[in-house]
């Protein structure tokens, strides 16, 4: 309830109430939650994180995954994370910046990971997503393909899939598509 007579008094005082202390940049609840997520990150040993815009922009960062087993052993995959102010009500936007031959990642870098879209919940966090990305390299899934061809090969001929992955990672063509080298 505001008090009308108080407003009147304030008006009379006029600039008397100009002690306006400087109010800095507003930090949204989403940014604070992200700050918590980042400060508690517990990365698997395959993964590193970097902040291209410096220590004060946590909303945009990059994650590099170097799988230590499975088809993608020896590869190096860069993901960009974009976190919106409505985090954690909105999941982070994640793209794979490395062109990869993978059934669940298309050639544009879209990633089909359930917790990034339909199964996202505000209780999940950045760490969960990073573990999810690692999981994609441990266990590519041919049932929910984004790269239809890769999924078909994985399903029908795992040996061929393996050699296709090798060829793509060391820089070469799989079918008509060229993959730049991403081996470390």
């Amino acid at each position: 309830m505001i008090k009308l007579f108080k407003i009147k008094d304030q008006k009379k005082d006029d600039a008397g109430n100009a002690n306006g202390r400087p109010v800095g940049k507003k930090q949204s609840a989403g940014e604070l939650r992200l700050h918590k997520d980042i400060s508690e990150l517990n990365l698997p040993k395959t993964t590193t994180i970097s902040f291209p815009n410096g220590k004060d922009d946590l909303m945009n960062f990059e994650v590099v995954v170097r799988p230590d087993e499975g088809y993608y052993l020896g590869g190096m995959f860069v993901f960009s994370f974009q976190v919106s102010p409505s985090y954690p009500y909105e999941p982070p936007k994640v793209k794979c910046k490395t062109k990869v031959y993978h059934p669940n990642i298309d050639l544009e870098g879209n990633v089909c990971l359930n917790i990034l879209r339909e199964d996202w919940k505000p209780v999940l966090n950045i760490n969960t997503v990073i573990y999810g990305l690692n999981h994609l390299f441990m266990d590519p899934n041919d049932e929910d393909p984004l790269n239809h061809d890769a999924a078909a090969v994985l399903r029908s001929n795992p040996k061929l899939f393996e050699s296709n992955v090798r060829r793509a990672m060391s820089g070469g063509y799989v079918g008509q598509i060229y993959f730049p080298r991403c081996c470390v």
């Binding site: 309830m1 202390r21 604070l32 902040f51 298309d106 996202w120 393909p145």
Partner: protein
């Protein structure tokens, strides 16, 4: 306008303001002058000049408010005209705020409305301090969350964690979605703020990308395929702009092709807009009802002529008519409106001393805290790359790191023991520096000190 006609014009309002009552606010002082004072002293900002904003401006102007301002970044589109009744066909392309302000001033004598054709973030935070009440007619969570955080940033608490009355900036928030709507009153520090009850929003439906890519079954799947996958494939690097009709047309034609391929019907241009921009059909009557409730609350807050809505009204006109008022409760540990924990420090205390202190603080017992202040990360415990970048702050006095202001808010995340269990938590801290002088005075002092 003569006195007689003024009395006639405001007859109904005067009945509310000039007569005593039993369910009024404790501060209510009924008087025939109350209407004049309302017009003279109370300043209201209307945020949004769309469906709700048009209604709000008109309702507030007709309720005796005379100092109004309105802010909206949008321009008028043809599709607005069915319900945003202040606009005409020849206004298409002009600023909503400017046209709305002018139209209401033309129709309601004595009211002054200042339009602001810009984004809400473009205004200095001090701009918002100037208003006695802020009324929201918005359609997004982000924008509400922003205004809420601005309003809550004015809130100050006394040493006993009670909100200081004169720092409370009341918000009246309206919202509609088709036949449904809500009106709520937010008194920061007294009633729940927007973030206290953010869990009220249902999660947005998101389709799995692989469904879009492989097994589309609905028209919406086809549209989202064109929007989320096909666009990037064809327009490498070009960002999609939902407000660009050419972009929207492209999405529509791609969606149509895909729908044909999979034998799906129902893709139309308006559905495409609806899916991509998340549009829900707006209904004029819902806006009118919700706005009326909001304007009435603003009047009650300003004059005390009745108790205010406590504190969240929902309206559903889908099957018959249903309204209900729910009294939500505050989240006492809310990071945005909560008092936080008061910490008094000497101006010489360093960041690392503060970190140690937080671990010993009886109320907090926060171990391994990371500290952030107004978007600046003062110290991060993890990941190593950020720890390294912030480590140099540790030996510096917190007072300096916080811009030498006598008081301020910082946030700390770390681990606390709860019933023997180590749980992670995020805490708001109200830091007050003992013996620190006010900004202005400090500058004078420093002028005399040789560097």
């Amino acid at each position: 306008m003569g006195d007689a006609s003024a009395e006639e014009r405001w007859r109904d309002l005067d009945k509310l303001l000039a007569r005593p009552g039993n369910i009024v606010s404790p501060i209510f002082e009924p008087s025939p002058q109350l209407r004049d004072e309302l017009g003279e002293y109370v300043r209201v900002l209307v945020v949004g000049a769309g469906g709700l904003g048009c209604e709000l401006l008109k309702d507030l102007a007709l309720s005796g408010f005379k100092n109004l301002e309105v802010i909206d970044m949008d321009t008028i589109e043809v599709s607005n005209l069915n319900r945003q009744f202040l606009f005409r066909i020849h206004d298409v392309g002009k600023s909503k705020a400017e046209v709305a302000a002018r139209r209401v001033m033309e129709r309601v004598s004595g009211v002054n409305i200042v339009p602001h054709f810009c984004r809400i973030e473009d205004k200095d935070i001090e701009f918002y301090r100037d208003f006695n009440i802020i009324a929201l007619g918005l359609d997004s969570i982000e924008a509400r969350s922003y205004i809420n955080s601005v309003a809550c940033s004015f809130l100050e608490y006394d040493d006993d964690d009670n909100p200081c009355e004169e720092t409370i900036k009341p918000l009246v928030d309206g919202g509609t979605e088709g036949f449904k709507g809500h009106a709520r009153v937010i008194m920061p520090g007294v009633t729940p703020c927007f973030e206290c009850t953010i869990w009220l929003f249902p999660p947005q439906v998101k389709f799995p990308l692989c469904t879009l890519a492989e097994t589309p079954r609905t028209a919406a799947h086809c549209i989202e395929y064109a929007h989320l996958i096909k666009w990037d494939e064809v327009h490498r690097g070009k960002t999609f702009d939902a407000d660009n009709p050419e972009h929207m047309q492209w999405i529509y034609s791609e969606a149509l092709k895909r729908a044909e391929l999979f034998g799906i019907t129902g893709v139309t241009y308006s559905l495409t807009q609806g899916v991509v921009k998340n549009i829900i059909p707006a209904i004029a009557s819902t806006n009118a009802i919700v706005s009326a409730a909001c304007a009435l609350e603003a009047l009650k807050i300003a004059t005390g002529c009745s108790k205010t809505l406590s504190n969240y009204l929902t309206y559903n006109g889908l099957e018959g008519l249903h309204t209900k008022v729910t009294e939500f409760v505050r989240d006492q540990s809310c990071l945005v409106c909560g008092p936080g924990t008061l910490i008094e420090l000497d101006i010489l205390v360093t960041l690392s001393e503060l970190i140690e202190l937080l671990g010993e603080h009886p109320k907090l017992q926060l171990s391994k805290p990371s500290i952030t202040h107004q978007g600046k990360n003062l110290y991060m415990q993890a990941p190593p790359v950020l720890e390294e970048l912030t480590r140099s702050n540790l030996p510096l006095p917190l007072f300096d790191l916080m811009g030498r202001a006598p008081r301020g808010i910082i946030h700390a995340t770390g681990f606390a023991n709860k019933n023997g269990k180590r749980t992670s938590c995020l805490r708001k801290l109200r830091v007050v520096f003992k013996g620190a002088v006010d900004e202005g005075a400090a500058n004078v002092d420093m002028a005399g000190v040789p560097a």
